[in-house]
């Protein structure tokens, strides 16, 4: 029961559930999911915390469950964040190469990335990710690693994801308040895409839509790099709320109706069908028309896809999605949703499978866990990087350090 350095934990505080996934890197660098813990969330609206204490309780449940299942002690997590305040855009950084021989060094690369991050953000915002896309050396496009190349002018395209600092801090504070370290904060949409897409799909161009409880996050890959990210603060909760309003039933009942009878397609069989629903005591409560239920759901989901399509069209990316669209998150469970998305986006749509990691089969198959698994995967990249960096001497020191009692 010691915190082996190869343990990576992803924690997602979602609007409907809190989920912790434990992954283990074995010696060959292969990631394996060994534990999952989840708890129902209270106190989160549209992906953002509104009741910190209730959320803390949920996090504790999820972490304890995951610890028990994986039989490890969790000390640090990769934390997923989302919310309507998160935005993404592309930016370019420029850096003149000043060394005498014009050879591009590691420092030049660091500098150019730093320049690309120096952007004019609203005062309260902070950069969440600055993801490198391509380098340009003297205007020559498509360089992936410029170190060692010759050139006078180094440029880099980055995709910057930024959000409101205080709102991001809220989630971090809750986790830190429980004596857990936060290794890094990751945008949920990015995490989901890491779990769902293979390298080949990223190369071809793909759109990942994570329909969560409170928000819908989407990420576009093309040519192997992230081109676009977005958050729509509309999710499954909105569907439930629409149903509660339209069918005049309580929220809890609406949620149940959505899960049991919901679908993203109005088929002939439900037309004119009604259903009696009863209260907890068995008393008749209301009669709902199944066609209305479907129509309300379809209109909401259709709108979500339309808004995403509009956004991507404006960014000019719809033509580049040759691998198609991948759906994940709890919303991907809605029957026929892929068909609806296909109609709106006019692209092949599939449900995302988290086949990029191995481990507990039951977990991996569920679309809700895509984000948390993606967080672990994100952690594993960082982990590999960290591992690769120490020099031989430091490694020796590490080995001896482990043997010697502290």
């Amino acid at each position: 029961m010691f915190d082996s350095p190869s343990i990576i934990v992803g924690l997602e505080i979602g609007t409907s559930k809190i989920c912790a996934v434990v992954g283990e890197m074995n010696d060959d660098g292969v990631l394996n999911i060994i534990g999952v813990g989840q708890a129902r969330t209270r106190g989160v609206r549209k992906g953002e915390i509104v009741d910190a204490r209730a959320v803390e309780e949920g996090v504790r449940h999820a972490i304890v469950e995951a610890e028990q299942m994986a039989d490890v002690e969790i000390r640090s997590v990769y934390l997923g964040v989302t919310g309507g305040h998160i935005r993404g855009f592309n930016n370019r950084g420029v850096h003149p190469v000043v060394s005498a021989d014009r050879e591009i060094s590691d420092e030049d690369v660091l500098d150019v990335v730093k320049n690309a991050k120096a952007i004019n953000l609203p005062q309260d915002n902070t950069v969440l990710h600055a993801i490198r896309q391509h380098f340009l050396v003297d205007g020559h496009d498509g360089v992936t690693d410029p170190v060692g190349m010759l050139g006078a002018r180094l440029e880099v395209d980055v995709h910057v994801v930024h959000g409101h600092l205080n709102r991001l801090q809220n989630a971090i504070r809750v986790v830190k308040g429980m004596q857990l370290e936060v290794n890094e904060v990751v945008f949920n949409g990015l995490a989901s895409s890491l779990a769902v897409l293979s390298n080949a799909q990223k190369e071809l161009g793909a759109l990942v839509i994570d329909i969560g409880g409170g928000t819908t996050d989407y990420v576009v890959y093309s040519g192997g790099v992230i081109k676009h990210t977005g958050v729509l603060a509309v999710g499954g909760d909105h569907v439930t709320n629409d149903l509660a309003f339209g069918l005049k039933v309580p929220q809890g009942r609406a949620e149940q109706l959505k899960i049991e009878n919901g679908s993203a397609f109005i088929d002939e069989a439900v037309k004119g069908q009604t259903m009696n629903i009863t209260s907890e005591l068995g008393l008749p409560l209301n009669t709902v028309n199944l066609e209305h239920l479907r129509r309300i759901m379809v209109m909401r989901l259709e709108e979500v896809f339309q808004l995403i399509a509009q956004d991507l069209e404006q960014a000019g990316l719809l033509e580049y999605l040759r691998a198609g669209v991948f759906l994940c998150g709890g919303g991907a469970r809605i029957p026929e949703i892929a068909r609806l998305a296909e109609q709106v986006l006019e692209l092949p749509v599939t449900l995302g499978k988290t086949n990029t990691v191995s481990g507990l089969k039951s977990t991996l198959d569920q679309p809700e866990f895509a984000t948390a698994i993606g967080l672990v995967r994100f952690g594993s990249f960082k982990f590999r990087k960290r591992e690769a960096r120490p020099t031989f001497g430091q490694n020796l020191k590490n080995v001896f350090g482990k043997l010697l009692p502290r």
Binding site: R45, V50, A233, V234, D237, N241, F245, Q251, I296, R300
Partner: protein, 437 residues
């Protein structure tokens, strides 16, 4: 419209000779009319109509409706009395309207005079051959439901008789004010907004347009969209005037943060600028508006006036989706509006006077295997059953509720998700006006 531009481009800019009479009815109306008379509404004739002697307006002819019955006490907050009084003096009102091509009626609804007299005055004006456009304010919510009910009732009556009604709820103007603003300031702010609206329409009428919006067109628009119509006028000056106007428009309090534009069905835009009004300015304003109201039919007008050098005034009148199919009370004898027994918003609105022609979906064709007689029998049964039921008076019809009543449920207290002026927290089917039945 287009031929006029070509035929007389140089004469554009001059004011048209139109005789306009502006009536201020009731205390509120007279106050507003008085303010207008003091401003630059040159060429208009002002008439103040009241039932008591409480206020007077400088520069306005006074019509004092008096009756022995009231002993000089005025209508006393009772619209019925105001209405009776106006009927008694119908001929006087008609004479006052004589000669006017267009009559503006400015009043505050909810009291006795404004609510009672205005519909009668509107009718008098129409009979004397003028086009009638009413600008009315609705009372603050805090003024009590009695006044609210009167105001609604008066508004419905006005809508049946006037060519167009533009209505400004005081409550919307209240949003403009700071918390500690004086009570009188609230009325003043509201009056100011209304006057701005009148000014916008006034300009529309008085300045010859490069692209003309006919007054009839405006009236047709206001008549057709008997949902709430809202208006906004913004003015800007300087080199960045187009951009300033664009920025001011969605922020206008009467447009609900641009939401009114998004939901509008028809939007009338009137641009008035100086001789230096450039194509780029017009383009910019129109492009922005098109973006704001993607669903709306946009009617555009533009005019040039010498006095507007380096300035740009944009007037917008947006009519929303019609919330109900036919809520108008049928006009009674000689065009007099039949009084609605209840306040509108109750049962009468649910009644659908014409029965829908749609065949009932319960009609089941008889099976082909049956004999001819049996088939006819089944058909007769079905029609027989349906017949009397459908003839039995007006059918209850479910109406679409206006948007502001929609409860946002669990998102009530969270930050709203606004996307291009649309509140995504509201159910999609409500925003798109899809009826569930």
């Amino acid at each position: 419209m287009d031929s006029e531009i070509i035929s007389q481009p140089l004469s554009a800019g001059e004011t048209k000779k139109r005789s306009v009479t502006i009536f201020g009815v009731g205390t509120a109306g007279i106050t507003m009319a008085g303010q207008m008379a003091a401003e630059d509404f040159t060429g208009a004739k002002f008439v103040a109509v009241n039932t008591d002697n409480s206020v007077t307006a400088a520069g306005a002819e006074m019509i004092h409706l008096e009756s022995k019955m009231l002993r000089g006490l005025g209508a006393g907050g009772d619209p019925e009395r105001g209405c009776e009084l106006a009927e008694e003096n119908f001929d006087r009102l008609k004479t006052a309207c004589a000669g006017a091509e267009v009559v503006f009626l400015v009043t505050g609804l909810g009291g006795g005079t404004g609510t009672g007299v205005s519909p009668v005055l509107a009718r008098a004006a129409r009979e004397s051959g003028a086009l009638v456009l009413a600008f009315v304010t609705l009372p603050f919510a805090c003024e009590g439901n009695q006044r609210e009910r009167h105001a609604r009732q008066g508004l419905e009556q006005l809508k049946t008789v006037a060519d167009g009604v533009i209505c400004l709820p005081h409550q919307k103007a209240a949003k403009l004010l700071e918390e500690h603003a004086g009570f009188a300031d609230a009325f003043r702010a509201s009056a100011h907004l209304l006057i701005e609206g009148v000014r916008g329409v006034w300009r529309l009428l008085m300045y010859r347009g490069l692209i003309e919006i006919h007054f009839e067109e405006l009236c047709a628009l206001l008549r057709a969209g008997h949902g709430e119509s809202c208006f906004a006028t913004v003015e800007s000056a300087g080199t960045t005037r187009a951009r300033d106007a664009i920025e001011k428009l969605p922020a206008h309090p009467l447009l609900d943060g641009g939401q009114a534009l998004t939901e509008a069905e028809t939007v009338l835009v009137s641009l008035l600028g100086g001789p230096d009004l450039s194509m780029a300015d017009v383009n910019r304003v129109m492009a922005d508006l098109n973006e704001h109201c993607p669903k709306a039919r946009i009617i555009m007008g533009a005019a040039v006036a010498e006095s507007f050098h380096d300035r740009l005034a944009v007037t917008i009148i947006a009519t929303g989706r019609q919330p109900r199919t036919s809520a108008k009370p049928a006009p009674g004898k000689n065009g007099k509006p039949a009084l609605t027994p209840d306040a509108p918003g109750f049962d009468t609105e649910l009644l659908h006077p014409t029965k829908p022609e749609r065949p009932s979906s319960r009609h089941v064709p008889p099976a082909p295997a049956l004999s001819v007689e049996q088939r006819e029998q089944i058909l007769a049964q079905q029609t027989g059953k349906r017949g009397p039921v459908r003839k039995a008076g007006p059918r209850m019809k479910q109406i679409t509720l206006p948007l502001d009543i929609v409860n946002k449920g669990r998102f009530d207290k969270s930050e709203p998700t606004i996307h291009k002026g649309e509140d995504l927290d509201l159910p999609t089917y409500v925003r798109r006006g899809v009826a569930l039945n």
